[in-house]
């Protein structure tokens, strides 16, 4: 053990602590501890499931820096190609500030405000401000590092290739101010919600922020194309509404440095400095009003621990039980099945209380929309075979949703709370297959009916019977995909911790190969349905439907195997 190891290095950290008015004897140890926590934890999506062994000596924080730098390099392409040049800089700044907000709220908020922390340290000598200062210092340092990784490629590109060294300094200054504001703003927002309304409120807000992040990300990547498709003419001038985008406020130094100022530049600069000063004022006022104590004791509200404790370790209290009772009302026979009801209850509980699950849901629903929207708008603007291709894109988008919803449904941040289902007498196979029912009735059916009806009405050039065969072909294909994905990812719903280090096993590889073969067969049949003219399309559709039978057997076998593995583990 290292208990008797060397004491933490003083020096710089101690000086920062004194500067912040903290007690070095408290500030130092917490900077060290929080530094370790920040290095080791990262919720950044792409890092989930990457094993420590695979990462070697790289910590999750190092990986986050690499990712930030990678995104920074990608953004350089936008800087070099998007016209007018300021629009490229806006894209770079917007994405950078979104990354900062995202990192503060998703990766570091548990360092800033951990509701369980007070019970760990309250009985030990400390003063609240020193602990909070250590949090702010460590998180600020991590964000500054991430920001540097992301913005450096843009600064270099602006300085050496796009504009001048002065312009690079202007952009760097704006990026620094923007990072500071975004960090402080996100800290105050997250901590404010947590302190005022509690953890549950925060967990409800975070997925919405994630949705905004995703929408913004796609808007940035597709923005120019959408603007053009919408009939906007992009000359040297930017549309006036762009001033409402906060990231543009911090580009005023770049505008000055490149000599492209307009009257709006002054307004944006004023807004930037106003934001910085306003946030600093709020922060200072919070600090003077005993904010440190509030932040540390954020989980110690007026409610006794016994009442705050949540039921069945799922994070849901009375509301969840009430919802479960409500769910017990009889409905259509499929929903009346106890296994389906258990699945729906678990889904509802996780949708209310499990941040990881909610995040996955947001991604699963937003990504297909983006997949569908981007090329459709683009094609729509050019009037190129729109009904045909939009219908295919819709099918692709729903297929993506089916795949990602199936994978997401296995995840739970607290799989240990699954035991009530394990000891209940419900059919385990039906519990797992309940997901297929949900996807069939609530995803495939509405899309197949809606998109199919639209296709039938608009694809006037295609004979009626072929139109029907194609619409039916897509519906059958999506239904096959539902069954197939359940077989490929057969883990019982809500039993897998997202970050768990899982090794790929030969069985999984074989399952994926079989899955791809069946998927390929289905896709080929769909292709035939689409291409074969005349009544042959119906024959291809029949082949597609026939695949359903072996697929169902295979999926059920996979589900049973998954349960056996879970019980043997």
């Amino acid at each position: 053990m290292r208990v008797g190891g060397t004491a933490p290095r003083a020096g710089f950290t101690e000086r920062v602590g004194k500067l912040l008015g903290a007690d070095p004897a408290v500030f130092g140890p917490f900077v060290r501890a929080y530094g370790l926590i920040v290095r080791r934890q990262s919720r950044m999506k792409l890092l989930r499931g990457v094993s420590q062994k695979a990462m070697g000596r790289l910590t999750p924080f190092h990986m986050a820096c690499v990712m930030a730098a990678f995104l920074g390099v990608i953004v350089v392409v936008a800087l070099g190609t998007i016209q007018p040049p300021l629009l490229g800089a806006i894209a770079a700044m917007t994405l950078g500030l979104l990354i900062v907000v995202f990192a503060v709220l998703f990766d570091y908020l548990e360092v800033l405000a951990n509701p369980d922390e007070y019970r760990v340290i309250a009985a030990h000598p400390h003063d609240a401000w020193s602990v909070v200062s250590a949090k702010i210092f460590v998180v600020g340092r991590a964000i500054a590092t991430l920001s540097l990784c992301y913005f450096t490629p843009s600064i270099v590109a602006i300085g050496f290739f796009r504009h001048s060294a002065l312009a690079a300094v202007g952009f760097a200054l704006g990026a620094a101010l923007g990072t500071f504001s975004a960090t402080l703003g996100a800290m105050l927002l997250g901590v404010g919600i947590l302190a005022r309304w509690g953890r549950v409120a925060l967990l409800r807000v975070l997925p919405a922020i994630q949705a905004i992040f995703l929408i913004s990300y796609f808007s940035i990547s597709m923005g120019r194309r959408w603007l053009v498709a919408g009939g906007h003419s992009l000359g040297a001038e930017l549309p006036s509404w762009i001033t409402f985008l906060p990231s543009t406020w911090f580009l005023a130094p770049l505008e000055w440095a490149t000599g492209t100022t307009t009257p709006a530049t002054w307004l944006r600069a004023t807004l930037a400095f106003g934001t910085v000063l306003g946030l600093m004022r709020v922060g200072a006022r919070w600090q003077r009003s005993g904010f440190g104590e509030t932040l540390l004791a954020v989980g110690e509200g007026a409610i006794p621990a016994a009442r705050r404790r949540k039921s069945a370790a799922t994070g849901v209290g009375e509301g969840g039980r009430a919802a479960a009772r409500k769910n017990a009302k009889p409905g259509v026979s499929w929903i009346r099945d106890p296994a389906t009801r258990s699945f729906l209850s678990m889904a509802r509980i996780h949708a209310r209380a499990d941040l990881a699950f909610r995040s996955q849901m947001i991604v699963s629903l937003l990504m297909p929309a983006m997949i569908f929207l981007s090329p459709s708008i683009s094609l729509g603007s050019r009037r190129q075979a729109f009904p045909e291709l939009a219908f295919i894109f819709a099918a692709g988008a729903v297929g993506f949703a089916i795949m990602s919803l199936t994978t997401a449904s296995a995840a739970s941040t607290r799989p240990e709370a699954f035991w009530p289902v394990l000891i209940s007498p419900i059919s385990r196979e039906r519990y797992s297959l309940a997901l297929c029912g949900v996807l069939r009735w609530w995803v495939v059916l509405p899309v197949a009916v809606g998109a199919g009806a639209w296709y039938l009405a608009t694809a006037a050039a295609v004979p009626w019977h072929e139109r029907i065969a194609r619409a039916a072909g897509v519906a059958v294909y999506l239904e096959l995909l539902v069954t197939l994905m359940r077989g490929i990812a057969p883990d019982p719903p809500f039993t897998v911790r997202p970050s768990r280090d899982r090794k790929l096993q030969w069985g999984q590889v074989a399952a994926m190969l079989i899955g791809f073969a069946i998927c390929g067969g289905g896709g080929f049949s769909l292709f035939l349905v689409w291409l074969i003219r005349g009544w042959g399309a119906w024959l291809a559709l029949a082949v597609l439907g026939a695949l359903r039978v072996p697929l169902e057997f295979w999926t059920r076998w996979r589900v049973r195997r998954a349960w056996e593995s879970l019980e043997a583990a």
């Binding site: 053990m1 290292r2 208990v3 008797g4 190891g5 060397t6 004491a7 933490p8 004897a25 408290v26 130092g28 140890p29 917490f30 060290r32 501890a33 370790l36 926590i37 080791r40 934890q41 369980d116 922390e117 007070y118 019970r119 760990v120 340290i121 309250a122 009985a123 030990h124 000598p125 400390h126 003063d127 110690e300 007026a302 409610i303 006794p304 621990a305 016994a306 009442r307």
Partner: protein
């Protein structure tokens, strides 16, 4: 000898709920004091006030001669606290967690290691001390918390249901550690609802029911005052836990 813990008319409310109602108690140095009571009686709340986690609504509590409200930091230097639920920083290893708390107590690293090392050995935790705490079982977390609470040799040791999650061997080890700690002149306050353990371990017990102290004394004295009764029967007679029995 001055009492190490003095509680005078302690009241603690959570909103409309009055968890502790006018509790008064004195605990002397060198004794192991058992705080008994049914679920929701106010044991944990009383311990949390003593540990400076929460402030009293009214009344006063002095621990090791210092007021828990006006001299909270002085109290914190002199106590060790094991909470009912094992809350730890999951991303830190066991040794890093111990180091953090040792630093907060301004302990010399070598002195901290000299104290915690044997405890870790006793609890068979030495081998796992460099693993992240998030990978620990409930029992291992509890052992780490007990070690952390003892490594600065506190004058007052506050334990809230400390046997939860511990195996039999660790339970026996802990009892020995607590006896040794009290024998050194320190105070051990032990909250539990396991009567047999309290009866065998504690010098005196206080039975709390609905936030009030309903009995106080050595287990033998309490039993002598109610002849023919076991501690369990006495507990049920005195508390609301026996109302439905």
């Amino acid at each position: 000898m001055n009492p190490s813990i003095q509680i005078q008319d302690l009241v603690r409310r959570y909103g409309d709920v009055e968890a502790v109602r006018g509790l008064s108690l004195e605990i002397r140095g060198g004794e192991i004091f058992g705080l008994l009571g049914p679920n929701g009686a106010g044991k944990s709340t009383t311990l949390r006030v003593m540990a400076t986690l929460i402030r009293p609504t009214s009344g006063s509590v002095r621990v090791a001669g210092f007021d828990v409200v006006t001299s909270a930091d002085e109290v914190r230097r002199r106590i060790g606290y094991v909470p009912e639920e094992a809350e730890l920083y999951d991303a830190l290893t066991g040794s890093e967690f111990l180091e953090l708390l040792a630093d907060l107590h301004r302990l010399d690293r070598a002195a901290a290691a000299a104290k915690s090392g044997p405890l870790l050995d006793t609890f068979s935790l030495t081998r796992d001390i460099d693993r992240p705490v998030g990978d620990y079982s409930k029992g291992m977390k509890q052992k780490l918390l007990i070690t952390a609470a003892l490594q600065h040799d506190p004058e007052v040791l506050l334990l809230d249901e400390p046997l939860d999650g511990l195996d039999v061997a660790a339970q026996e080890t802990l009892k020995g550690v607590l006896h040794a700690h009290a024998a050194a002149g320190h105070v051990v306050v032990y909250s539990s609802h396991i009567l047999e353990v309290v009866e065998r371990l504690c010098d005196r017990v206080g039975i709390i029911d609905r936030g009030r102290l309903v009995a106080l004394g050595a287990p033998a004295e309490l039993l002598a005052a109610h002849p023919g009764r076991t501690l369990s029967a006495l507990f049920l007679q005195l508390t609301s836990a026996g109302a439905g029995a």
